[in-house]
């Protein structure tokens, strides 16, 4: 028996979330952990998956897999499941993995749960806890089929880095023309910034900041903290900030260790995207702002005075 982990990389570098998925697979203790990597990943990076608990790495090297084609990835996983006699597949939530997992579930006749937040409970069958209603509730779901696919959210398992390196072997699944349907014609991607879905700390700004010209202080605070920047929906609708920073029910759902909200009222749709943050700090000049009800630490004050002071205090602490 073995467990396959679908591992993603970003320009060769293995994603932290995928390393977490390997930790999850290792923690469920259901056989050998096999990390499956598609496309052009750095060999050293793949070996290091051993530290997260991978026993082996399968590397599907075919160059057509460099570009994320969902159907092709699903074929690769399905074939790896057959070859390796694997009943369980683990994936970390991403813009690619949900669709890949959904298609694999159909191909391989498997039960599938996404947004799983904890290790499974196997005391009576195989039960997972998934987040529903945009983080406002959970559902315990029994996966009934012999084969199971689990998509995990951030922090579903304790992260570990120990042990040695994993052996990498080439994997050449049979791929058909029909597995490749789309042509990627370009990418427009932020570089050199901390990305929201993976960020440990996020500084987010709302309409209370009055205009895009005032984001300098948000960026300064984020830089001092090594944080990603986020915003509320109206801020991205008004194009003060790029869409990728929009946090909430209809934007990115985040689960950082620390979320600092500045000049955001805390509408329920915004809270839905941040309620799985570990610690929330709210800075708002209105003591009645609903966000305070969801916060761990609150500051009633004018952002234009408070934020620069906070940045100075962070810098002083770092020195």
């Amino acid at each position: 028996m073995s467990v396959i982990v679908f591992v993603e990389h970003d320009e060769g570098r293995i994603k932290k979330s995928s390393r977490e998925a390997v930790c999850y697979a290792s923690a469920i203790d259901a056989g050998d952990v096999i990390a499956l990597v598609c496309g052009n990943a750095e060999p050293k990076e793949m070996e290091l998956l051993g530290q997260n608990g991978a026993d082996r790495v399968l590397h599907a090297t075919e160059s057509r897999l460099d570009h994320g084609d969902i159907q092709a990835y699903a074929s690769v996983i399905s074939q790896a499941m057959d070859n390796e006699n694997a009943d369980i597949v683990i994936l970390a939530k991403s813009s690619v993995s949900d669709a890949v997992a959904a298609r694999t579930a159909i191909k391989s006749n498997a039960s599938f749960a996404t947004n799983v937040t904890e290790l499974p409970n196997t005391s009576d069958g195989f039960m997972v806890k998934r987040s529903i209603f945009t983080g406002n509730a959970f559902a315990w779901v029994k996966l009934l089929k012999a084969k199971k696919i689990i998509g995990i959210s951030k922090n579903a398992v304790a992260y570990k880095e120990e042990g040695g390196s994993a052996e990498v072997s080439d994997f050449s699944p049979v791929l058909n023309e029909s597995d490749f349907n789309s042509t990627v014609t370009g990418r427009d991607k932020a570089t050199g910034v901390v990305l929201l879905p993976e960020a440990e700390i996020i500084v987010s700004g709302g309409r209370g900041l009055k205009g895009p010209e005032n984001w300098g202080m948000i960026e300064d605070l984020a830089e001092a903290l090594g944080a990603a920047t986020g915003c509320s929906k109206p801020v991205s609708d008004l194009e003060w900030r790029p869409h990728r920073e929009h946090v909430g029910q209809t934007g990115v759902k985040v689960s950082p260790n620390l979320y600092i909200a500045v000049g955001i009222s805390g509408a329920i749709q915004h809270l839905a995207g941040v309620n799985s943050s570990k610690v929330i700090v709210v800075i708002n000049k209105d003591p009645e702002a609903p966000f305070f009800n969801a916060a761990d630490y609150g500051v009633v004050g004018d952002a234009f005075e408070v934020v620069p002071k906070l940045t100075d205090a962070v810098k002083a602490m770092r020195d």
Binding site: A99, A102, T185, D188, D296, A316
Partner: protein
């Protein structure tokens, strides 16, 4: 061109989430239902394509009779007709099987969905329907244009977007800013009443998973207020008490 838009009937985004019957049923008490916000984007884009390219737009929902007011709203926004598959949408596989069954004979060029439902948040029905029908699926789609039988798409990726070209037919999960939400006008509401809403029976399907119970998150602890002049105190609390710095 024929477009199928798949919509959910979900609690309004401001609903209080609670459960009854020993945490096995969603508490519908006082809850208002809406078309899922992501599907609102899908409908809006379908109507725009209808206006620019000419298209017949059908909406489909897997649900009981209680979802009909929500389906009528989609007709009021501008869809031409509707199908309700008369069954409880128990799990994603079941829903996908039903949608694929309706779609397989419908000859649709595009099947538009939301990026995810806001109750179940699976983000999986589009992929499953695509696989069941043997056609591509793409999500989350921020832009979708049509040029002959090729569609030009911007898909969200972590930290940005990716531009894709794809031949129709395919399934797409939509999100902003693909189109602006449309609100039905009076004329739309009047004509929606007489548009066809066909109720069909579900096909047999397996249930690969089973809901055991719901759970609410633990209540938030009490908030600590910090004086705006004492930001060093906040930093020290974050470092030493919350241990997040």
């Amino acid at each position: 061109m024929k477009i199928l838009v798949c919509i959910t009937h979900v609690p309004d985004t401001t609903s209080r989430i609670a459960f009854t019957d020993g945490d096995t049923k969603f508490d519908t008490n006082g809850v208002q239902y809406i078309i899922g916000p992501y599907e609102d984007y899908a409908i809006a884009r379908a109507i725009e394509l209808k206006e620019s390219h000419g298209a017949a737009v059908t909406v489909v929902n897997v649900g009981g009779a209680e979802t009909e007011p929500t389906i009528r709203k989609a007709l009021a926004i501008g869809a031409d007709d509707a199908i309700r598959i008369n069954a409880d949408p128990e799990d994603s596989f079941f829903v996908a099987t039903q949608i694929a069954n309706v779609a397989k004979d419908g000859d649709y060029d595009l099947i538009l969905m939301g990026r995810e439902s806001i109750d179940f948040n699976g983000g999986v029905v589009h992929g499953m329907v695509g696989e069941l029908l043997g056609i591509p699926s793409v999500s989350p789609v921020m832009k979708l244009d049509i040029d002959g039988n090729v569609s030009k798409i911007a898909r969200e990726i972590e930290g940005g977007k990716e531009f894709i070209e794809l031949k129709m037919p395919f399934v797409a999960g939509c999100q902003e800013p693909i189109a602006e939400w449309k609100i039905p006008n009076m004329r739309g509401i009047m004509t929606a009443r007489s548009k066809p809403l066909n109720v069909v029976d579900p096909v047999d399907s397996e249930h690969p998973d089973k809901l055991v119970k719901f759970e609410l998150p633990p209540p938030k602890g009490t908030i600590k207020m910090i004086d705006p002049g004492q930001m060093d105190e906040l930093v020290s609390l974050l470092k030493n008490e919350a241990k997040v710095l």
